[in-house]
């Protein structure tokens, strides 16, 4: 899993029917010590995350194990909202 920060939302009208009702968020990956990492990802939100929140992101086929994502065309899911990271 990686950590990421919510930086925006995605709206899509024409999409796979199995994605209907799913909230899509734009995420900026961050390192555990809080620095931004290059690139952005779009993920399905299963924990009602909000703007600027730090979240736990699962990628690959494990993303389909998230709540309500079984048999859906999803490869990145948000499965937790981070309270705190302690290094060392």
């Amino acid at each position: 899993m990686i950590l990421a920060r919510v930086v925006g939302t995605v709206v899509a009208t024409r999409k796979d029917p199995r994605l209907e009702g799913k909230k899509l968020l734009v995420l900026k990956p961050v390192s555990p010590d809080g620095k931004d990492e290059p690139g952005y990802v779009v993920a399905v939100d299963t924990v009602s995350a909000g703007y600027r929140e730090r979240v736990l992101v699962v990628a690959g086929s494990s993303a389909r194990m998230a709540e309500g994502c079984k048999d859906t065309p999803v490869d990145t899911s948000i499965v937790g909202i981070i309270d705190d990271v302690q290094m060392g």
Binding site: M1, I2, L3, P32, V47, V79, D84, V85, M87
Partner: protein, 96 residues
């Protein structure tokens, strides 16, 4: 499977219900001679590993298997704590 070192810990209250009671640790991937390599990642811990310990971890769909019958949506999990690493050319394994 990959070697890594536990370098931190993550707390999350709001999470997938199957994650209840599962520890989340920050892992720095290591090479065989224990040099840091690649980006730090978050692993679900099935072993009770602590900060500073050398572990090995799996990635992909298999990462939920140590937690059966629970199925947390994990793509990386710690599956062992390493005692020694023995490389070719060394007389004996080096304790971690």
């Amino acid at each position: 499977m990959f070697l890594g070192r536990v370098v931190g810990r993550v707390w999350a209250t709001v999470k997938h219900p199957e994650y209840q009671g599962v520890r989340l640790l920050v892992v720095q991937p290591l090479t065989a001679d224990r040099q840091n390599t690649g980006k730090q990642i978050i692993c679900a811990d099935s072993m009770g590993a602590g900060t500073g310990e050398v572990i090995y971890w799996v990635r992909g769909r298999e990462a939920h298997l140590p937690f059966l019958p629970h199925e947390p949506p994990a793509d990386a999990a710690i599956v062992a704590i390493v005692d020694t690493i023995h490389l070719a050319g060394q007389e004996r394994g080096e304790p971690c």
